[in-house]
Amino acid sequence: MSEFAVIGKRIPKIDAKAKVTGRAQYAADLYFPGMLYGKIVRCMKYAHAKVTKLDLSEAARMPGVVKVLGPKDVTQKGYNTGVLDIMVPEAAGKLLGDIEDQVLFTDHVKHQGDAIAGIIARTEEQAERAAEKIAVEYEPLPVYLTAEESMQPDAVQFTPLKPGNFAFQLPAEMFPNNSYGWGDAEAEMKNADLVIENSFYTPKCKQCQMEPHAYVGYYDDQGRINCWTSTQMPKCVHAKIARLFELPMSRVKINQTTVGGGFGGRLGMIGEPEACAMAMAVPGRHVKVEYLREEDWIASESRHPGNYRMKMGFKNDGTPVSCQANWTANRGAYYTHASGTNFTMGAWLVGMYKFGALSYKAKAYYTNVAPCGAFRAYGNPQTNVAMEQTIDDMCAKLGLDPVEWRIKWAKGIGDDTWILGFKYPSAALVQCLQQGAEAIGWKEKRAKYANQTGTKRRGIGVSVMNHTSGAFPMLLEHTTCTVKLNEDATAEVITSCSDLGTGAHTSLKQIAAETLGFGLDEIHMLVGDSDAAGFDIGAHASRTLYVGGGAVKAACEDVKKQLFERAAIQLEANVDDLDMKDKKIFVKGSPDKSIDVKTITSLGVYNFIDPATGKTVGTPGQIQGYASHFPPHHSPPLAACFMEVEVDIETGAVETLESIMAYDIGRAIHPPSCEGQNEGAVQQGIGHALMEEIYYDKNGLCLNSNFTDYKMPGPCDMPKFKNILVEEPDPFGPYGAKSAGEGALANPPGAVLNAIRNAIGVMSLDVPATPEKILKAIKEKGIK
């Protein structure tokens, strides 16, 4: 029998019925009377060019066109679609080099798909037809696709603010010697018996959330800009749109619609600036902007690609002596997340193993491809590819068992997390490794797969990860929640927390019900309304359940405190002597001395003077609980992923056969949501390891901006899958919960690649490990 009433229950998700009937409304599903359609005109021919002529006059005369907008018709204030600049103190932001290098409708095209103009017409088709009539001339500029190219001294500068096209490195003022880690890694490396050094390439991948970006903008009669968007971060967009258009926040409203997947793809702003600019050009008319899939692909952010130089030193017994890592990112056309991802990549390295010394350095250079930003697990998969393959290489060379080594050397309770100085408050990685190994038959299969011959060879691999529950203290972590009690003792929970399909709103409702002691149907979640709800940083860093849940719990506790205080007066008892059950507050030990919660809430609202006595009964005032919650920690979840593969040495094809994700969840508030996060993450992780990469031709034009040419794991590509949720409650998380969400995408890549290594003895230095690359490696190694 569970100690909880609703926590841990497999209740239907609160949005499931709306979604399964098609009634859930995504931004593109909205229609308003007289609504117009906006089309963002993009440069499709060049990845780097100057616009030398832009003549919109013929487009303006096309049927149905209401307005055409070039750079001169909209604000030319710089902005940054990322949000890191509002998540750190100004001084830190300056050190980290955050800049506003984007502008609406640019005359310097820096990647294919950069926006140069906007058209507003009565129908979408009319807007598209008019876009074809824009007269534009370009002066092509040299195209830089890698850091090595754009760092050349004679390269065209992306922005005067970043000389040498050098977007980011860890600032020496915050990170001595531009390095994150501990000890003297270079000196320590000399004490190693075995040093392994390799350079790994990890690819540019697309989030591929199923709902393409879409918006409706509306400039209303009170001079407010209203924007309907499936952003992951409504309150950050609220602040950033206000800043861009120089409006007070009271004149900006963000309506968060149902979010058709995020995975980081909607972190910060995407098309909101263009949609709002267009709406402001036609006051009183709604303007809908829908991205085509191809536009979504080439114009919105993706995962950072780059080269990861990984050097690790060990003693002959496997003791990890030193780690020196150097990451060089091809950052894309704009600054956006340059500081964030390129830092966290090292943070995940810092949080994992007990090396004697560790140094991580990163450099990021502008390139003429779509900007890189947030993609689920924010740098963690890249690190996993380099870190976990190197660990397995060491284990193979020293004859050690990869599971045993990780049990011995992974960080745990009391060790520093990814933020040095913060200690793991909970950690169940050892259980994850043990239970996962047992479930997949690790020992038997490792023995069985040694020395295989034949065309098809099997392998089994493991990889571990550490992630986070919120970004504190690296970034601001803050969620507010208001809980309003109706007079009939039901509750409205008001927050700006996002649910990208993760089940976050369902889980938050469970926390509210559990804390209040109310039934689930007595609680409603009011979300997505920036007017109604206070601040929430948004869905990133796997924070919603941990930080948002903390806020909901605290606000509900505030409600409960008020209820108990009023009950104490009514019952003439001490607050400390009271307890609550079945929505009745009673004196402990005297259950007859009680009052219904409903009596208190009703008297709070309908509070009259009794004509007979001239006095009121009960305490007046509608009860509202409130919390402005700043979490004290980031309680990292850990996980072990096991993967079994079969490699065809004649074709190089890799099939994933079986996978296990053993995850240190703390507490599973809504278990099916936790499972679902792992299931989807493993799918994306397999894609990262084996299939997914955005390719460009030498001119920087995207070659695979569609689902046929960018292959993701489909239903037949998925292995047999098993979830193991290890529940060791965390002291800081709400009811002991840590995050699900991103982390489980971090380690499937390492597990797949280590399984390939186990099958054929080849490490994958160039990811994704496509059949061509595997076959090449097989031939080079002379495997027969």
């Binding site: 399964v20 995504y26 709902e211 058709g260 829908e290 899939r293």
Partner: protein, 159 residues
Amino acid sequence: MKTRSITINVNGVAHSLNVAVNRTLLQVLRDDLKMPETKYGCGTGECGACTVILDGKKSILSCLTLAATMDGANITTVAGLEKDGKLNPVQEAFVSEHAIQCGYCTPGMVMKSVTILAKNPKPTEEEIRRELEGNICRCTGYVKIVEAIQKASEVMAST
């Protein structure tokens, strides 16, 4: 643009329309009839989010179907599956098995699943997976979607 007069029946309601010959069924459903339950995911027939059912049995991709060719057709969208306020067993199973995350692929996925089970009431897991190849889900790893279809198959067999 040339137009053609057509009558299409969507979820039991007949609509007489004059459609431009380049309009897709998806555009007509979403923009002209204001029925947004059928989703645009790619517009090129790769993702299956726009799947609807033609004449009660065949799943088609509405983004690749010209509306002008649909004269006299009976189209069922996901909004047409409920009967007397009760969800279709496939819809029920998607809810009960937690097969929905962001929900954007769900309408197409449900419509595809209805036709899978109509054709083959007791599909094996492998058959389900093969049939789903044209419907992309980026959230679930297909794990709970496959389980939901299996569950719907069981429920439908027992009723």
